[in-house]
Subunit: 339 residues, 2 copies
DNA sequence: TTGTAAGCGTTATCAC
DNA sequence: GTGATAACGCTTACAA
């Protein structure tokens, strides 16, 4: 493999000049630049990135921590990150944490060892204090995460408000016994969504009763189990808002199994707008997050940090959207109740 | 940040010894090892990986080329790769090709510039000749790919045989007008699956007519469109084998829309066993590939290449499985026709 | 067993 | 505008 000194020799210049041609082409006279480029071409020279990274102590690589790469929600965000990164000459290193806290801890080593220039964490499990501490030392950005005290840049939607919308939609369809299957309560997102559910209920003079609330884990199985449970009570909900589409689909299948028809007997609203939400039968009414855009925005923020630019705004709340399909029964109604 | 020389100074040894403690602990006496480890601890020393990589001209990083990270088929394979890689001290760099040939080409640069030690390509689009040429220079492994002349290690299932099984299953349920929605024909996998369909038909004395075959693109939309088309003919199929679950689901929804009931009026078999296959209504009969295992095996093979071990076997065909659920109507039948 | 010292290929700091 | 040269931090012959 030819090295820079080979190019220099062939072009009759010094390595310094070759380096300049590569990195600051304007600081060198056109004629010598010509010669150098010619030599580079002739030798088919490729700069040794390892040497460059070493010398410059930067890698042009960022790390993305993903709770579960097979979850379409995360993989779409990664897609957005990847695109923005590629456009800016950065590569994306991926790490599956499998929802394990220890894997998040372990990933910090990559930053410490300067193996990556920065990190984007999707739905981090680490406590806020630790995150802030990391953030003091390394460039990090959070996505689908929300902080009580936003000192670290993060990208998210307004989970409280979106949950209010989802719940309100069900209430305006005339439902009063609206149940909620939440995500795990250790996650702030889940707590926010739960809060939104409660707000909407109270705002409409309804009492969010404990017997209509279940703590799930965002998974199909947890939605399925909790729905079976909810429907086995004496008083049964007529509508349910699940904090993820996976859970919503689980809930619908559980209802079906008990002969409860969706949306006729049970109205369902989910969250995430996964690819299958529109393919499922009945198609899912759900909250759509701008996943690709969230990935992009996260990378934009990280780029700013990497370039030493000041980030005036750390809280980046993108607009979500309630997508009305069949599972809520809205299409059978003539009109909604007033707000 | 403390460097190796700091550790050496504190421990009262040379950097060479520190290096040895880190990489060949057995070649140094326990007592000095003790001292060095003590110093490392005290300084909270982390080796500078950039320097190490540079010096050793290796990165402990591999590149995975993914046609589409949001596709659960690929993300599950990536999961398997990731796991095996992590266990062996390798990191996984991810690159989305978006099914673009030029992105596959561009990724070779990473290898040339020694930014990664090796590469796993999922469903590569590059022609066999080019792949072989790359393989002569760099360690690569293919997954969900099949070569005519297997000179590069690859991991796959037997797509011809699995398609035969899928088609045969429908035939044994009594269907004679069995249609096929294939993947894009530029892909060998699609051609193999088509071949399997044809084999099964012919083996049972049926004629695989052109009017019952459509070339899709593995996507939901293409399955949907082609099904509408198939059902608009005078003679209509009673069963369909789609080369992907996404297409199968599209086909089912198209049928539903036309009032054709699945499985009563139309039996459907898909391919991939995506997560959603079991959640869909009707649940999908489909071919399951051992995705996680395929990822793992690919990484195992790449590790062998990276370690300079000989790979005696390049063709790694893992077992697939026909998973019988509701969409094919088998559960309504008393028994299948004989083979 | 341990230390010395010469690189690895690039970039940055000086002079010129 | 260009060149000489000293790093960057680690690894590894080779010597002791």
């Amino acid at each position: 493999m030819p090295k820079m000194s080979d190019v220099a020799k062939l072009a009759g210049v010094s390595t310094a000049t070759v380096s300049r041609v590569l990195r600051n082409p304007d600081t060198v006279t056109p004629s010598t630049k010509e010669k150098v480029l010619e030599a580079i071409n002739q030798l088919n020279y490729q700069p040794n990135m390892l040497a460059r990274h070493f010398r410059r102590t930067e890698t042009n690589t960022i790390l993305v921590l993903v709770p579960n790469i097979s979850n379409t929600v995360f993989s779409e965000i990664v897609g957005g990150i990847e695109e923005e990164a590629a456009q800016n000459g950065y590569r994306v290193l991926l790490r599956n944490t499998n929802n394990q806290l220890e894997n998040e801890y372990a990933s910090i080593e990559h930053l410490k060892q300067r193996q990556v220039d920065g990190m984007i964490m999707l739905s981090p499990k680490l406590d806020e204090e630790t995150l802030i501490e990391i953030s003091h030392q390394y460039p990090i950005v959070l996505a689908t995460a929300h902080l009580e005290t936003p000192t670290i840049p993060f990208v998210s939607i307004d989970n409280v408000r979106s949950s209010e919308k989802a719940t309100e939609h069900l209430i305006r369809l005339g439902h009063r016994r609206v149940a909620h299957i939440s995500g795990p309560m250790y996650s702030l997102i889940s707590r926010n969504r739960y809060e939104g559910y409660q707000n909407a209920m109270k705002n409409h003079g309804l009492n969010p009763e404990d017997k209509f609330v279940r703590e799930g884990e965002f998974t199909y199985e947890s939605g399925y189990e909790h729905m079976l449970d909810l429907l086995s009570q004496k008083e049964v909900p007529t509508a349910i808002y699940a904090a993820s589409d996976d859970m919503a689909i689980g809930a619908i299948n559980a209802a079906n199994e008990l002969g409860v028809k969706v949306p006729e007997d049970l109205a369902v609203v989910g969250f995430d707008n996964i690819k299958f939400a529109s393919m499922f039968n009945p198609s899912l009414t759900t909250i759509a997050q701008p996943l690709h855009g969230m990935g992009q925005r996260s990378m934009e923020l990280l780029l700013k940090k990497l370039n030493g630019e000041a980030i005036s705004q750390t809280e980046h709340v993108l607009p979500d959207k309630l997508i009305i399909r069949d599972s809520c029964g809205a299409k059978h109604k003539e009109k909604l109740l007033p707000m």
